[in-house]
């Protein structure tokens, strides 16, 4: 099959970018989307042009490195699928495809399709953990966890941190990402002691990074390769409001620490 690509090219964070057109011929429908970029890059290299920079690593949909806006849709047309797991059989022969990086103030473009997502790490550092140092854990079976809670926690914990939720959101909000971590830990007994400060700390960091607020569009859930539900945002609101309302002084002191 043959495709016409328009790819966002931008030499560095400081320079302006533009869409460049490339023709890709003799492709197999069984090829993955990133393999399509590999093929184009091999040709560009042979022609002495700069290959297209893009993030990728595991190529099996779990590391969360890859992420492209494909025809304006985060991770492309297939539901519940990261870019690396998208195959050309999802496109028709002769199609034109626009490929762009995630667009969000908190995710500045570094080059071509590569963006800086370290803001996500800082949101986790602001409370997305259980504060248990190595060696201090009780026996693993000392606290039973209802299977339904453990399963539900796992639904949220599957987040791969790719940033598609931010890219898909008209407000560039990181609410789904933040909510998934808050929700995962809030369902488990181990997450209770820090539950309130976690919700406050992570939301405050999210705001500080320049992500927008949630206005309930639901685009994040549609784009999420792990189908993390917007319900988690409702749970986050609940914890956030409770934390702000019930223990504001104590929480404020803890967050400041």
């Amino acid at each position: 099959m043959n495709l016409t690509l328009y790819v966002w090219r931008q030499a560095s964070a400081a320079s302006a970018g533009r869409l460049s057109r490339y023709e890709a011929a003799d492709l197999s429908p069984d090829m993955s989307f990133l393999e399509l970029l590999d093929v184009v890059n091999e040709r560009l290299t042979r022609q002495g042009e700069a290959p297209i920079a893009f993030d990728h690593d595991c190529r099996e949909g779990i590391c969360g490195s890859c992420g492209l806006m494909i025809n304006g849709v985060a991770h492309g047309p297939l539901k519940a699928t990261a870019t690396c797991q998208l195959h050309l059989r999802s496109f028709r022969d002769g199609a034109t495809i626009y490929i762009e990086p995630w667009r969000a103030r908190a995710f500045p473009v570094l080059r071509d399709l590569v963006v800086d997502r370290t803001a996500f790490d800082r949101i986790i550092a602001a409370g997305g953990f259980v504060g248990v140092s190595t060696g201090s854990a009780p026996d693993a079976n000392s606290l039973p966890v209802p299977k339904t809670d453990a399963d539900l926690a796992m639904d949220a914990a599957q987040c791969i941190g790719c940033g598609a939720c931010v890219a898909a959101c008209p407000n560039a909000s990181a609410m789904l990402f933040t909510a998934a971590k808050v929700g995962h830990l809030a369902l488990l007994p181990q997450g209770q002691p820090e539950r309130m400060r976690r919700a406050l700390g992570m939301v405050q960091q999210m705001d500080a990074e320049g992500f927008g607020g949630c206005t309930w569009h639901g685009e994040c859930m549609e784009a999420c390769p792990k189908e993390i539900s917007i319900d988690w945002i409702a749970r986050l609101y609940r914890d956030y409001i409770r934390a702000s309302a019930t223990r504001p002084e104590r929480v404020a002191v803890e967050v400041a620490l």
Binding site: E60, A125, I160
Partner: protein, 637 residues
């Protein structure tokens, strides 16, 4: 070079306890005066950096990915072993130890493996406390499943994403230390050299992958947790970025490389679909709990699988290995798949595949239960192949997955370079010639959470380390070398891309140093690899400059190292005139085609010492002494 494994004296079960008492401690108030570099943020590196940060050391942690959460441990699917015996099915520390030693075909150190089995139970406790959502039973307690090479259920899992959940637990612990100020994280930063001063590891030279800036990082000790070298084969289940550079450059600075020929070829991967293929995808071994492996009895049987009657199917693993059946270890399952394909009974395009069939399981426990256990794996399979495994059997074929070889380390996980510690897949230590399923996660976390925090303290408390900084001539010289190498790669402007060399190298290795190795094939590789390397340095095309985000340059540096390392791998495979675990020499097999070990001549660790460019490395032997287990012929029949 002397190989001193520093195995503590005393009975096996008491060695680690005794050693922990005998090791020197660093006073809590003094820990912050010591700086430690950790390279790699997978399960081993991430857990080490977090735990050392908690203890109060000043940790600098490096990864080439954009976030520490993306390290390739994240892709481990099936589970993590621990000798908890929660299932009351006869498990014990001793049994896990024995299974691991036997699974490794008696080519691992007893003392290390016993310690691993002891620590395994604490790992599960730690991970649960971090909020890792392991699978549970309705009563609220942890669930287990069985895995290859074991007859007990000791594997803990989180759906098919166990590695992801363990890594996120460890990444969160790491970020907690970043917030606390004990760990400084350097993402998108690649280690390109190791720096020694007075014979001890004192730092690394790194390249900032965004700006291209080459910098020296100084510390009192260096920890490498940079994973395995499976990508030397080009096609593997490893992430595209996984590479040998950190360990290989440490090797060139004097760290011995242990057993490079021990590579693991995993039996259940999705077959290659075309020339453009960039990686292979693993289907977790846990699938073999309920899936049955078969091929048609007759060669050239082109019928769709549903039309092949039961009597005309050969469930060859159940037939050949009745007691372990589909759950025999990976090396055995892989070789058996190769055998039936060599006989012309393989299925799918090119005849390079076997069926993994869930028909019986769906009949027995229902589609919903199968979906609960393996849903995400089935989904992944369908996405890649466009076939529905609930309706038609999966097609699988072996692929390079893990490397048991790695930098040689002593009982303290220190390499032959003082101050250079090596953890996880990057070291050679615990899996012998074959790793059992669900043991990699266990080893990575054992090394990082529960071993290095003690042994590093002992090193720092006893080493005499002069104060140095980045102006030291050794750092200046290493920086200059790194810069020069990049300029050289960028200046060639030849005709071939980096990937074309990498693919060619991969084909040579898969062909002659893969599932079956012969002296003739390995010798041919030892001629062809240097020629390919020479062509690379004359004819590779690396576009762009060194002062920018340049992914071609990153890959070129890694492939240049693979081109040297591949020779070491083949040399080790040629020297080891026996078959053991994942290393199968065609010349050494039993009449029924099983691996034939030679304990009289090869019961040792082969540690290779670099002797300079284009010189044959020196072989040092660490004899393996088995005081507690009897060396037997591994049988899964």
């Amino acid at each position: 070079m002397e190989l001193n494994a520093r195995i503590p004296s005393g009975p096996l079960a008491e060695k680690w306890d005794r050693h922990r008492f005998e090791m020197k401690l660093v006073n809590p108030a003094n820990k912050r005066k010591y700086s430690v570099i950790v390279v790699g943020t997978g399960l081993a590196g991430g857990s080490a950096a977090a735990s050392l940060g908690e203890l109060g050391y000043q940790v600098s942690c490096f990864c080439f990915q954009d976030s520490p959460r993306r390290a390739h441990s994240i892709a481990a699917q099936g589970g993590i072993n621990a000798a908890k015996n929660y299932q009351n099915d006869g498990d014990s520390i001793w049994r896990l130890f024995y299974d691991t030693i036997k699974g490794g075909d008696f080519r691992a150190r007893e003392a290390n493996v016993y310690r691993l089995a002891q620590i395994s139970v604490s790992i599960i406790d730690q991970c649960v406390a971090q909020g890792v959502p392991f699978a549970r039973e309705y009563g609220g307690l942890l669930a287990n499943r069985s895995f290859g090479g074991a007859q007990v259920s000791r594997t803990f899992y989180a759906r098919g994403q166990t590695g992801q959940q363990l890594l996120l637990g460890c990444y969160q612990a790491l970020e907690r230390q970043v917030a606390a100020g004990t760990v400084r994280m350097y993402p998108r930063t690649e280690m390109l050299d190791l720096v020694l001063i007075d014979g001890a590891a004192r730092g690394i030279v790194t390249r900032d992958l965004v700006t291209g800036k080459v910098e020296s990082q100084v510390a009192d000790a260096v920890i490498l947790a940079t994973g395995g070298y499976g990508n030397v084969f080009y096609l593997s289940t490893n992430a595209r970025g996984s590479n040998v550079t950190a360990t290989y450059r440490a090797y060139k600075r004097g760290a011995a490389f242990g057993n490079p020929c021990y590579t693991q070829i995993h039996p259940t991967c999705i077959p290659v679909s075309g020339d453009y293929q960039s990686k292979l995808t693993l289907m977790s071994e846990s699938l073999r709990n309920d899936g049955r492996v078969w091929v048609p009895r007759a060669g050239g049987d082109g019928r769709p699988p549903q039309q092949i009657p039961e009597a005309e199917r050969d469930y060859y693993l159940e037939r050949k290995y009745p007691s372990f059946g589909n759950l025999c270890p990976r090396d055995i399952a892989s070789r058996a798949a190769k055998e039936v394909c060599d006989e012309g009974r393989g299925v799918g395009p090119g005849g390079l595949g076997v069926y993994l069939d869930f028909g019986d399981a769906i009949g027995r426990i229902g589609e919903a239960k199968v979906a609960e256990r393996y849903g995400n794996l089935f989904q992944m399979y369908q996405r890649i192949t466009d076939e529905n495994p609930y309706q038609t059997p999966m097609r699988i074929f072996p692929a390079v997955h893990y490397t048991m070889g790695g930098l040689w380390v002593d009982y303290n996980l220190m390499s032959t370079i003082p101050g250079l510690h090596v953890l996880g897949e990057a070291n050679f230590s615990d899996h012998g010639a074959n790793r059992l399923g669900a043991s990699a996660l266990m080893q990575g976390l054992a090394d990082g959470y529960f071993i290095i925090p003690y042994t590093l303290g002992d090193y720092l408390a006893t080493a005499k380390l002069p104060r140095v900084d980045a102006t030291h001539p050794a750092f200046r010289a290493a920086e200059a070398e790194v810069g020069e190498r990049a300029r050289k790669l960028l200046g060639i402007r030849g005709q071939r891309t980096v990937d074309s060399f990498h693919r060619e190298l991969g084909r040579l290795l898969w062909e002659h140093c893969g599932m079956a190795r012969t002296a003739a094939g390995l010798k041919a590789n030892l001629d062809r690899i240097p020629a390919l390397r020479q062509e690379f340095w004359e004819n590779v095309n690396v576009p762009g400059s060194g002062e920018e985000l340049n992914q071609s340059l990153e890959r070129a540096g890694r492939v240049a190292d693979f081109l040297e390392f591949a020779e070491l791998l083949c040399r080790d495979a040629l020297h080891r005139e026996e078959s053991c675990g994942g290393h199968f020499r065609v010349e050494h097999q039993t009449p029924d085609g099983e691996a034939l070990r030679d304990d009289q001549h090869f019961c040792y660790v082969a540690a290779w010492e670099y002797q300079g460019p284009d010189r044959v490395p020196a072989l040092r032997r660490e004899p393996l002494e088995f005081e507690n287990v009897h060396l037997s012929t591994r049988s899964y029949k």
